[in-house]
């Protein structure tokens, strides 16, 4: 132990992280696989941060109605295109806690739009656990409690309001329910198809393999969006929002599986020659059992990483479809449906806050990318 001039203690023994890992019989390398993966993943700061963020976002979904001050389709006819409101803490230099100021709409007859004037004389403190529009908590419990809402006579539009006077912030929270789950359902569909076809092709080989390979090639060589568009145009317009949501996620998943199937197939091709597979077969295990018990567990973690990386494409796909008017439809609320309002240059110039839903999209897509990168890097804990 040496003491540095600035008072810190430093160990004299040479430190070499590489050397450490290469040594055999290291206690911390003797842990189960998932623990090793977790240890390595923890060092990937950005991935860890993204993972935590995504976890919180998904956990938030059932409680979106509670956190949002308004319900998604609640219209405030007196506050059309109201710009974002700040939550203030200090009123005239004095701390009064979180409060907003009431605003009134003035018709701007010169530009034909509403402008808003804030009455800054009286601070109006926010209310908590107050009653508002009713919603179903987690889709089951009917309630009208909200985490916070504006006091009587004032509004709380954190991200402004849209053309019908609906609160953009609340709609983003509600939109997350659809926009975030569309990717999960899509990836499930893609997983089932991809693993199914990939393992059949890789394990059995021969003619089946040839047919599946050609199918994969054809699907991969086609541009996705026009096909998505064509498929979603076929969804009957009289279906309810829930049915449309499921069918759209299905469509997103159906065109995504070839990439996964290809990866699965190539893994199977190399793994099926392993001795333990031969052993299992000789002991009379059926093909299904060999695939499920002996082959799949080998690379399921890789599959999870690649799934994480393909969820963003689905989220963006849903957004694009809804944006073009062929995906989810109002009254369903998703980020793409919201952006449908921000479609023209005029709204970007005059009401830039209607484009705010793009921020959650970008953040979530980035988070999935970082998480996927982190997972991929840490899945092989022995590799340096």
């Amino acid at each position: 132990m040496t003491r540095l001039p600035d008072g810190r203690y430093v160990d004299d023994a040479p430190y070499d992280p590489q050397d450490d890992l290469q040594r055999l019989e290291r206690a911390d390398m003797d842990a189960p696989g998932w623990l090793l993966v977790w240890r390595k993943f923890k060092t990937h700061r950005l991935g860890l941060l993204s993972g935590v963020f995504l976890l919180l976002s998904y956990l938030m979904l059932p409680f979106a109605g509670f956190i949002a001050p308004y319900t998604p389709n609640e219209r405030n006819a007196d506050y059309l295109y109201s710009p974002p409101q700040m939550v203030n803490f200090f009123h005239e230099g004095r701390f009064v806690g979180p409060h907003v100021y009431s605003r009134t709409a003035i018709a701007d007859l010169e530009n034909y739009r509403w402008s808003y004037e804030e009455d800054r004389s009286t601070p109006m403190p926010l209310e908590y656990f107050c009653t508002g529009g009713s919603y179903r908590l987690a889709g089951i419990i009917k309630t009208d409690r909200h985490l916070f809402c504006a006091p009587e006579g004032a509004t709380i539009f954190l991200f402004g309001s849209d053309r019908l006077g609906r609160d953009v912030f609340s709609r983003i929270l509600y939109g997350a329910q659809l926009s975030l789950t569309v990717g999960l359902i899509g990836i499930t569909v893609s997983f089932i198809l991809g693993i199914g076809f990939g393992s059949i092709a890789g394990y059995f080989g021969g003619k089946v393999d040839w047919i599946i390979q050609r199918a994969i090639e054809i699907l991969r060589s086609l541009p996705e969006l026009p096909l998505w568009l064509a498929l979603s145009a076929a969804v009957p317009s009289n279906w309810g929002p829930v049915a449309v949501f499921f069918i759209i996620s299905l469509i997103l998943g159906i065109l995504d599986w070839p990439g996964l199937a290809r990866a699965v197939r190539s893994k199977f091709l190399s793994l099926r020659e392993e001795e333990y597979v031969r052993a299992a077969e000789m002991m009379g295990a059926s093909s299904g059992r060999v695939i499920r018990r002996h082959l799949l567990p080998n690379f399921v973690s890789h599959l999870i990483a690649s799934a994480t990386l393909s969820i963003p494409a689905m989220i963006l796909g849903e957004t694009a479809l809804s944006f073009l008017g062929l995906g989810l439809r109002a009254p369903a609320v998703s980020w793409g449906v919201m952006l449908n309002d921000a479609q023209n240059l005029a709204s970007i110039e005059i009401y830039p806050w209607t484009a705010i839903p793009m921020l959650p999209i970008i953040i979530v897509v980035l988070a999935f990318n970082f998480l996927g990168d982190g997972l991929r890097d840490s899945l092989d804990p022995y590799e340096q």
Binding site: E217, I218, R220, S221, L222, P223, E224, L225, P226, L227, L229, A230, L231, A233, A234, P236, P312, L316, T319, A320, F323, L324, G325, L326, L339, A342, Q343, L345, I348, E349, A355, M358, I361, I362, V365, L366, N369
Partner: protein, 342 residues
């Protein structure tokens, strides 16, 4: 297998693929219940306009919409004679657009060339941006160049195309005076090619190219960087360094050439994404490509128009992929005998 043989083989597989794709597209187009004309006939009947019904009935027979689906398909492609003999895609008759009441070929017309042009420009952009940035990012890995390139790349991947288009259009117009909307100034529309028209098109291409190309460039750059980094870690690079080769020369002599293969091969992945992007961006920016026509046709079940546009888009990607495969073979002699079993 020599080059000629490989080209023929590749063309045959492409044609076969196109055939399968045509079946698929026809099936998808016919998924929605009813068709444009029967909807129209029902509507006309409901409002009591008899003369319109007669015309619609006539069109229905003219385009064989009253026959079973498989017959319709054969007639559409041109394998079987329709009411007017063989007149399908193969014979160059693309059908009739019921929505616009015009032949499909008149509606798409110029749009086909502009679509090809937009996509070509975007691909050029991808290569021009991804190549230098990817090389620099790998050669100077973990420097600010690397990090900022990665940052821009991630942002490009994560921003929805259409929003990027709107933003760039707005700011490009506000600060750089770039034109808004369309692919050329209105006065050049329908005019023959001339120097001012070309110039106008080029200026209008800037934003769309950038928007369509960004995400592709980001992905391409990341892949080139990864490949090049792999190569740079190999012993022969160390040898070259030890022998005192200058860094730039060392880089271009071997590792870059090795890392270049996947770069060209990747066009097969790149192209579908680009075409997707261009359809979306065209709708948002109002470019006169086939994107807006596709969207309108799909929404109104204008089946011949939608079918033709989808076929064209598929054709474009397949041809592009084939060209890249042939290029790759010229570039890398090892692929020449390209059977996958060797």
């Amino acid at each position: 297998m020599n080059i000629l043989k490989y080209t023929i083989y590749r063309t045959m597989t492409m044609l076969l693929t196109l055939l399968v794709v045509s079946v698929m597209i026809f099936a998808i187009i016919n998924l929605p219940p009813g068709d444009y004309l029967s909807n129209q006939i029902a509507e006309l009947r409901a409002t009591g306009q008899a003369e319109g019904v007669a015309k619609a009935e006539f069109l229905r027979q003219e385009y064989a919409l009253d026959r079973p689906l498989w017959e319709q398909y054969l007639i559409w492609v041109g394998f079987a004679p329709g009411p007017n003999g063989f007149s399908g895609l193969l014979q160059g008759d693309f059908g009739w657009s019921f929505e616009f009441d015009q032949p499909v070929s008149d509606i798409v017309g110029d749009a086909l060339w502009l679509t090809v042009l937009v996509n070509l420009a975007a691909i050029l952009f991808v290569y021009m941006v991804a190549l230098p940035l990817g090389v620099v990012a790998a050669a100077r890995s973990k420097s600010w160049v690397d990090y900022s390139a990665a940052f821009v790349g991630y942002l490009g991947l994560a921003t929805p195309n259409f929003l990027l288009a709107l933003m760039l259009f707005y700011y490009g117009h506000k600060y750089l005076g770039l034109p808004i909307g369309g692919l050329m100034d209105p006065q050049f529309e329908g005019e023959p090619m001339s120097w001012p028209k070309v110039k106008s098109i080029l200026i209008h291409l800037i934003v769309p190219t950038f928007v369509i190309g960004t995400s592709g460039a980001a992905a391409m750059m990341q892949r080139l960087r990864a490949n090049l980094l792999d190569e740079l870690g190999k012993p022969y690079v160390e040898t070259a360094r030890a022998k005192g080769l200058s860094p730039a020369r060392m880089l271009t002599k071997y590792p870059l050439r090795m890392a270049f293969n996947p770069f060209v091969a990747d066009i097969g992945n790149l192209l579908p994404a680009m075409v997707s992007g261009s359809v979306l961006v065209s709708v948002v920016l109002g470019l006169q490509t086939i994107g807006p026509a596709l969207l309108a046709a799909l929404k109104s079940q204008d089946q011949f128009l939608a079918g033709f546009v989808l076929m064209f888009v598929a054709f474009l990607t397949l041809v592009g992929t084939m060209i890249s495969d042939l290029l790759l073979m010229l570039l890398d002699p090892r692929i020449r005998y390209g059977g996958r079993d060797q």
